[in-house]
Amino acid sequence: MRIFKTRAARAITAAVAVGLIATGCASERDSDNESGGKKDTFVFAGAGDPGSLDPALASDGETFRVTRQAFEALLEHESGGTKLVGGLAETWSSNDAGTVWTFNLRKGVKFHDGEAFNAAAVCANYDHWFNWKGTYQSSAVSYYWQTIMGGFAKNEDPETPEANYKSCTAKDENTAVIEVKQPSANLPGGFSLNALAIHSPKAIKEYEKQEATAKGDAITYPKYSQEAGTVAGTGPYKIVKWNKGNKEVTLERFDDYWGEKAKIKNLVFRTIDTEEGRRQALQAGDIDGYDLVAPADVKTLEDQGYVVPTRGVFNLFYVGMSQSANPALKKKEVRQAIAQAIDKENLVKTQLPEGGKVADQFMPDTIEGYSKNVKQYPHDPAAAKALLKKAGAQNLTIEFCYPTEVTRPYMPAPQDLFELMKADLEKAGIKVKPKAMKWAPDYLDATEAGSCALHMLGWTGDFNDGYNFIGTWFAGFDKQWGFKDKKVFDAVNAGSKMGKAEERTAAYQKANEVIMDYLPGVPISSSPPAIAFGKNVNPPNVSPLTQEVFAEASFK
């Protein structure tokens, strides 16, 4: 027993000691935080880890949310709006054909690594992307480059689109000229994408030494994009640390920033995968803001005094139809029946955030090119039944895919939306075979490949041009929809090659009318996604494009 006693005594002493140290430290830490008077770290939670620190390799919002704070493109959108304004270029112009773009660059801009920003730097970036080889040419790595500029100097895969990019020349220190082969509706909007943000030429040289590899299995991102240190942009914050184990990226104010400096010294992005987790972390005071707020939580949080601004409407949620997956969908009556069976009003009223609108075409009404004269398909189960009968499809059974474990800004609760629509379709006499899939990669792959007869997807615009919406889906044959209709394709493409914005707008309006007459799918709604901040936060201007600049945020 003696042994036991001394052991116990030792254990107690140790415990007391630990306790003392611990409490001592705790109080020290508290005073540290409070004596400063002001918090100097802003913590924002996203739903997923960024994929890389080089935005050029990314195509997802979680990555861009982080990189947008550190990298800037030639053009950008006005704070809180969708209008293109100068970014690293103060002004820009193009020839009439829209093939030669001249940028007058901002002076006195410095990169995070001390390099000076100039026309040569701009061209170094564009040429770097254009000359990508090997795995960099995979559409999973260079999605946005391929969307905006087509392929590369030497395409290695026949599936890669032909390059539209021609050249970039540094006319003088502060003038860069970018030439493309064909005019495109993706320009000048594309110049604002964070994926085409300008990196320091010194960093680019470093990037070029490193390979992205696809070692049989999957893509291994180059090392420079996986840890802070090499990447350098011009933004108000610089990336200083990526702690993957702790799921956080730390950024620090860049004191040589050319514009208005960031108000808070440290900016940290953390990952909390679930909606409840993010909300609870905010309520517990562990974070200062988060994105992808469940509509149900908006009011709760507002009532509790949190700042929950709502973004402008700039997205579209739709039910897609794949005519190759279910031939019954080739009949227009069937598509129309589905459109009339779905009670969009109810979805908007009960599921989508306040301010959501029922959509009647594949474009929100905030976009130039929205048409007021599209054909309407009002909710009417009886009419739907009659249409099915007319098409000889009374016993229609249809597979309906929906994603699990995900929320998107346009689609807050996919499973609930699915269940409501399923009930609607069944009311019209359509049998629904549900198919649940993981969002990535299963669901995205399956819908893209056109193997889901019915599915739900959406789109948040990258920039304010109608083609960024309808061109995404209906510019040509697309496996997702599985139909060929020259009238639709021609109407959509008519606008894309026009140099003048007004001409394009008119063409898009016409295209919307043609699309809704053909009815390839059912546009459901456009909704304003909310973003939540702590009670003591002056939030940044929220952006309809979800392109918030956190340098604008401050503590009250």
Partner: protein, 334 residues
């Protein structure tokens, strides 16, 4: 002793080989095969052929298996399709967090479970016994994720005593030495970082401890009940030894043997639980990584994880066997 170690290690080889065959077949059985798992359903035939060539899938099965085996032996578990980083590196990065969490959970389970089980047995039929037994029965019947959600709701959100997620506060700029947040703080003298890490560990550890705790309470209780009727205990009491001595030397020590084994072997259940608790608390360990791997069908990670656990299990099993043979001389004979 050495012979035992060697023999145990040799016995493991067929087991691990068998597991690798199963894993190999499983990978092969995945919808569409590895190529489509990598490329997705939109892959063209040319692409599939290219990947198959790159992966050596056009070669005979035994050649493929041999390569698969060689890679595993070289700890080359492939590349995560989600993060694009080597699977082994991802594990090494996240393993310390899960180890810390599991250790604390086991610590809680033992520190609470053993005394509880012991006193429950001593007062068989008393209120403590009834509470402990029914408590442990209820404990294993509550879904771990639900318990974690409730704990978080009460202690983090409502009362604000503990942080609601993560491993460390952002304000804490801890130096990373070993990857073990608590240990690092002690090593570098950043005690506040250690404390912060401990606070983050407590709620998930309590949730994770629920099942081991219930198991340990019941095992200790049963074991003590069994041992206290043994002849040597009666002999000791008859010899006139003090009751306290009998209890600690004879009853508790002998009753602990099966409990010690149990503690050593809770790995599997802890890692299962970690997948759930870590994801509720967004705790950046292996568990939440596996959760995202499940969501994203990251097969290299899942296969690697199974292999990894098999190895960890094998090692722990070996250690426990050795420890046991040291404690209990009877085992050495076998």
């Amino acid at each position: 002793m050495l012979r035992l170690v060697v023999r145990r290690l040799l016995q493991l080889i067929p087991t691990l080989l068998g597991l690798s065959v199963l894993l190999f077949l499983w990978l092969d059985r995945l919808p569409g095969g590895p190529a489509s798992a990598i490329l997705g359903e939109k892959a063209t035939e040319a692409e599939v052929a290219r990947i198959n060539r790159a992966l050596g899938l056009d070669q005979p099965v035994y050649v493929q298996y041999w390569r698969f085996l060689k890679r595993i032996v070289e700890l080359d578990l492939g590349t995560s399709t989600q993060t694009g980083q080597p699977v082994w590196d991802e594990f090494v990065l996240r393993f310390p967090a899960t180890v810390e969490l599991s250790l604390l959970a086991i610590l809680i389970a033992v520190a609470v479970g053993v005394p509880l089980g012991y006193f429950a047995a001593r007062n068989r039929g008393g209120w403590l016994d009834v509470t402990a037994v029914s408590g442990s029965l209820v404990g294993i019947c509550i879904p771990v994720f639900f318990l974690a959600l409730i704990l978080k709701g009460i202690f983090a959100v409502q009362l604000g005593i503990f942080p609601s997620y993560g491993r460390q506060d952002t304000g804490i700029n801890a130096t990373d030495v070993t990857g073990f947040a608590v240990l690092d703080g002690i090593l570098t003298g950043e005690f506040d970082a250690s404390w912060d890490a401990i606070m983050h560990l407590i709620l998930p550890a309590v949730a994770l401890a629920s099942i081991p705790l219930a198991v340990i309470v019941r095992m200790t209780r049963a074991s003590v009940l069994e041992v206290q009727d043994e002849d040597y205990v009666r002999t000791a009491e008859a010899k006139g030894l003090k009751r306290s001595v009998v209890r600690s030397r004879h009853v508790l020590r002998n009753a602990m043997l099966p409990v010690v084994t149990a503690v050593g072997l809770l790995t599997g259940s802890l890692l299962s639980g970690a997948v759930l608790t870590e994801s509720v608390f967004s705790f950046g360990g292996i568990g939440s990584f596996i959760r995202t791997a499940i969501d994203g069908r990251d097969y290299p990670v899942l296969v690697g994880f199974i292999m990894f656990i098999a190895m960890v299990y094998v090692l722990i099993n070996l250690l426990v066997d050795l420890a046991y043979s040291l404690i209990d001389p009877r085992v050495r004979v076998h």
